[in-house]
């Protein structure tokens, strides 16, 4: 294998990894900051991918409208989920109910969209850096878009009133309540916003992967891996570790073969959990509630 191929693999890994980071950041926000463990997370991403495909490809709705519809829908889904089944603090109950929601989503997708794998079949325009090294245009756009979304989310949390309210509620609910913040509404809002990120991530993933109803499981384990590598609750870190996982995933596929990709990656996940459950980069117990 030449050095050029190697660089291509790494570049490809970095670009996909950025999107992995975005996908995982919503999970890490939910689990780490909001203390809501959402196991229907992967299938929500999958649903976003399917909807993107059908809105744009099958029903020929202009992209802008499609995105607006998707955003509205996912904001509502997030809001409803938080109001009905996730308004408790018991992790066990949350895990079980969201797993149930996952099954509902998967089976509804099978009923309405059938289990047939779907693909956007975008003709990828390559940008040549040198004669042999190139990157895909959509991938490049997605990568920078993912970074932009994360940065703007960070700004939202730090600069706007709503964002600061979210941080206040996350840090000390009781005090925030005394200060006149309706903490329940704020939690609803935060959870719904995290669903917007899922919608964005779904659109991006749809341009890169082919989707089938169980794609969510794969995406979820990848998010777990990314989150745990960065430490749950660490959003900036999850973008970085997403890139690392992306590179790793690309390397495993080319060096060992595609059939080893999932077992090796998932095995690695269990190993990291056992050795450094607080994340590879977190020094000791500086974990969770950091946004």
């Amino acid at each position: 294998m030449g050095i050029d191929t190697f660089i291509n693999i790494i570049l490809n890994g970095i670009l996909i990894g950025g999107v992995y980071g975005l996908v995982a950041s919503a999970f890490t926000f939910q689990a780490g900051a909001l203390q809501i463990v959402n196991f229907s997370y992967g299938s929500s991403t999958m649903l976003a991918m399917y909807l993107t495909f059908f809105l744009i490809k099958e029903w020929n709705i202009p992209i802008v409208f499609a995105v607006v519809i998707l955003f509205a829908l996912f904001f509502t889904i997030g809001w409803i989920m938080r109001r009905t089944i996730l308004n408790n603090t018991n992790h066990g109950t949350q895990i079980l109910t969201t797993m149930a929601v996952e099954l509902v989503i998967i089976n509804l997708v099978i009923i309405f969209f059938t289990g047939f794998p779907r693909d956007m079949a975008i003709f990828e325009k390559r940008i040549n850096i040198t004669d042999t090294i190139s990157v895909g245009l959509t991938q490049l756009i997605c990568f920078f878009l993912a970074a932009a979304v994360l940065v703007s989310f960070h700004l939202f949390l730090n600069k706007t009133w709503a964002g600061m309210s979210i941080r206040a509620v996350v840090q000390k609910k009781e005090i925030a309540n005394i200060m006149g913040i309706n903490s329940e509404r704020i939690m609803d809002l935060a959870f719904s916003i995290s669903y917007l990120i899922i919608a964005i991530a779904g659109i991006m993933l749809m341009t890169m992967f082919q989707v089938e109803p169980h794609f969510g499981n794969y995406m979820m384990t990848i998010s777990f891996l990314v989150c745990v590598t960065a430490g749950i609750g660490n959003m900036g870190g999850s973008f970085l570790s997403g890139i690392i996982i992306g590179i790793l995933s690309a390397l495993i596929t080319t060096l060992l073969g595609a059939q080893f990709h999932d077992p090796v990656l998932f095995g690695l996940f269990v190993l990291i959990l056992l050795v450094r459950p607080n994340g590879l980069f977190n020094s000791s117990k500086r974990i969770a509630r950091q946004i």
Binding site: G92, T97, Y218, V228, F260, F266, L273
Partner: protein
Amino acid sequence: MRSDNLLRRERLLHPLTAVSLALVILAAFVPIFGDRLMMNIAIMAMIYIILGHSWNLLTGLAGMFSITHALFFGLGVYGMSISVAKFHLPIIAGLLVGLLINIVMSAIVGMIGSKLSGLYFVMAQVGLSQTIYTLSIQLFPLTGGVTGLSMPREYLMDKSTLYWIALILAILTTLAFAFIRKSRMGTMFVALKENPDLSLSLGSNVGKWRIMATVMSASMASLAGSFYALFMMSNNPEVFSMVISLKIIIVVIVGGIGSVWGPIVGSSLVVMDELIRGIMPTTMAPFSVIIYALVLIIMAIRHPEGLISIGRSIGLKLEGKSMKKVSISK
């Protein structure tokens, strides 16, 4: 007042014993009067009773939240079908192979469980389960990939034989669960679930008991899996799926977590599900899963703080309800 309570409990036990006797007698009639469909349904219910006891042991008693319990079940299935279909070993060897794989896997899970807790433990289980699931597809020469292996015809057993085996296994695991609950092991399990720190300071080796709980539970699930392989005469990666894990959990939660009766009461759900699926066309299968999921969601909405806490809100339902009635009438 207290003796009154005790008396009521004594009386309450009697109907339960009567019910269980009636159940066993009723079960004995199935192969005589029932047709193939009935028998299949009954066997599926038995399998879920065994799996329910297995999950109940690990989560209901020892308090380790097992989210991918189908992992142990599936390893039992693969142990049996690979050794029988690939290596033409006798059935008993298949059983032992399944058991052995499961003991190794559950020791790993138990070790993780004694090191990690809460969300991390659950995530590790999902990771392990996904690893095994993908391996079961990728290791095509051994496992038969997506389509799975089918077992040679000479292993095919008569439906009523299968039925009796299932019934005996279900009764045995029920007795085993009841025995374990009352034994040293059961006391230690509940103690470490309720208060790990105090258990430790009272000299209980919490880590060891956690591993023990996982191994015991996995062995039970492995039995069910090996039997399932003989029942279906094949395997496929779907035995590792989330649907089965969730069904096991729902069966126990509906029946009452931590109690011997939980899985038995809850298995009525499996009977209903299989009945509906037996009648409806196969394209309706997704709906049955959705119904399961909705049952769980509704239960969660009704009991927001603790779907998996023993003896409090929904656990030990039979006892809990009667107590409540008494207090209201007063």
